[in-house]
Amino acid sequence: MSEAQIECRDLWKVYGRRSDEAMRAVLSEGLSKEEVRDRFNCVLGVRDASFSVKKGEIFCIMGLSGSGKSTLVRHVNRLIEPTAGEIHVAGQRVDTMNEAGLRQLRAKTIGMVFQHMALWPHRTLGDNVGFGLEVRGVSANQRREASVRALEAMDLGGWIDHYPDQLSGGMQQRVGLARALAADPEILLMDEPFSALDPLIRRQLQDQFLNLSAQMDKTTLFITHDLDEAIRMGDHIAIMNDGEIVQIGTPEEIVTNPKDGYVAEFVKGISRVALVRAETIMDRLDGREVTAKQVGLGAELGDIIEHFMEDQSPVTVMSPDGPPVGQITIKAALTALRG
């Protein structure tokens, strides 16, 4: 708990006029989404979601549209009111917070980036970026300073007096990021920030964000519908389906050990070359012969395959402190590659 920057416990969101009633019925009778809809005319947005995000980590929430991932993330700054459950952010309890405290939290502690940028077209970039400070009553000079700093970090220093519609899509989303970072918040909520961009720009922005994130030690909740992106960005990934979190794990865990058919279906087309490590696929050495081909525990599947180019004899896996611990046959490597 002490280390977790964002923690949600048993979070539920039921939409509809009879949401409380529906909620009680769901808890006591375990109704399905369809039953809730038919009996109470309510929609289950989030169903019993629990997760925690450590300080400095990028936590991806992956799911298709309608899976409730956007709804879930909006509970963190309470743009959406939870029906039940607890939300803790940066040591504060959010679900019971009053309006004034909530505004402080949103303006200071949490920055948010939106899928369609949501930059205000009638404000200059400077005024867009400085908005969070403006509503807190920070003076114009300080606001401008912060805006300049945030825009410069995004390589947009010279654009401060321009308007959003004078920028390309990729630049606009960099402004969106600058706006989220202007108040130097501890936490970033990113709601499919790069989905609306073309692939090349998306890739650039992903890299830029990863660099930035490594430098700045922000805790990030990152939503995406693209598993490749989730694997690239995330330290941990939560997979959502129909309002429920199906599985939480590191990218490797998700890919090598999908919990159910739904996750497996997603993971199918993902390349394992850079994801699966020797440790996961090796057999215990158990007295077998140590070969000349040796790799470490953390070696990636791609490197291991390199060793089978010349001959097909097994590869030995060495522990960090010396002794060999396991071996990988060509069969095991190919099986891991196929998934």
Partner: protein, 305 residues
């Protein structure tokens, strides 16, 4: 009684009831309606005195400058032509009276209509109640409420403003409501996500983004106010409408034509100018208002020195 012609008898004497009710209101509550007149009276008298007593050419210059500022040089020239035409026809005095009535009406319609529209956009139930009221205000032929208005407010220019106000209020309410509802949801959500209160969200995000639509509503209100000019002259409102009415009454085709043309010219100037106010800065290429038009010209001159 002839059963086959039962409708020869007036079974529901609604006319009588209304008359009795109105009489009762007039005898007991006339002072309330007289009090309502006061703010309308103050604004109207101020505007009318200013417009009619100032030198004609000064007002002409002012109108042309405002039009130029709002809509560019072309609109400035059009306004110059229209207003000069009115002046040369000998309808200047009357057109100033009409202009002051229209402007007073716009002031009150905006003052009351825009807040109403904002509340309606935020509150679905209120909007459901308001909608039929607005429909009623727009569909009842204005002749119908001329009589009760005269009884409650008496005749004259101020009553004319009130009649016009009732008729011209709906569009600004409707379009404000529409404009606020049309603001992209993620724009509002972003404002909230960065800690804005409801009030800040309204003034910093929703109203500015809805402004082109709201200004279209104000423009509609102005046009409806102008279209009431002739009707309201029946309760002895002076101005261009009265010229037309007198022309009809005396079969004086010349007088009616002058009044009619005056209304058309005035309408062109007001319509184009108010429409230009509604064009957002984005569509003008992000130039501030003071960088264009006469203000821009003056600024350029000052900067050169």
């Amino acid at each position: 009684m002839d059963i086959w012609n039962i409708f020869d008898t007036e079974w529901v004497p609604i006319g009588g009831w209304v008359e009795t009710a109105l009489q009762w209101v007039v005898t007991h509550f006339r002072f309330i309606f007289q009090a309502i007149k006061v703010p309308f009276d103050i604004v109207l008298t101020g505007l009318e005195d200013g417009l009619t007593q100032a030198p004609d050419l000064l007002i002409l210059l002012l109108i042309v400058l405002v039009a130029w500022q709002a809509g560019g040089r072309r609109l400035g020239l059009i306004s110059l032509a229209c207003m000069t035409g009115i002046g040369l026809m000998g309808a200047w005095e009357e057109s100033m009276t009409t202009l002051s009535i229209v402007l007073t009406c716009v002031v009150f319609c905006s003052l009351i209509g825009i807040p109403l529209g904002v509340v309606a956009a935020k509150n679905d139930r209120f909007w459901m109640v308001l909608q039929p009221v607005l429909d009623l205000m727009q569909t009842i032929p204005s002749f119908v409420y001329l009589v009760p208005i005269v009884m409650l407010f008496s005749i004259g220019n101020v009553s004319g403003v009130i009649v016009t106000f009732i008729y011209a209020l709906p569009p600004v309410v409707r379009l404000t409501n529409l404009g606020i509802r049309q603001v992209r949801e993620d724009m509002v959500e972003a404002a909230r996500a960065f800690g804005a209160s409801n009030r800040q969200t309204l003034f910093k995000v929703e109203l500015p983004l809805a402004m082109p639509t709201i200004m279209a509503g104000v423009n509609q209100t102005i046009m409806m106010a102008l279209s009431m000019v002739v009707v309201s002259s029946m309760i002895s409102v002076t101005g261009l409408g009265q010229m037309v009415l007198r022309g009809i009454g005396r079969l004086d085709m010349g007088l009616a034509t002058v009044g009619g043309l005056g209304i058309v010219f005035l309408a062109i100037v007001i319509d184009r100018t108010s429409q230009s106010f509604g064009i957002s800065a984005r569509e003008r290429g992000h130039r501030k208002w003071y960088e264009t038009g006469p203000a821009g010209a003056v600024r350029a001159l000052i900067k050169k020195d």
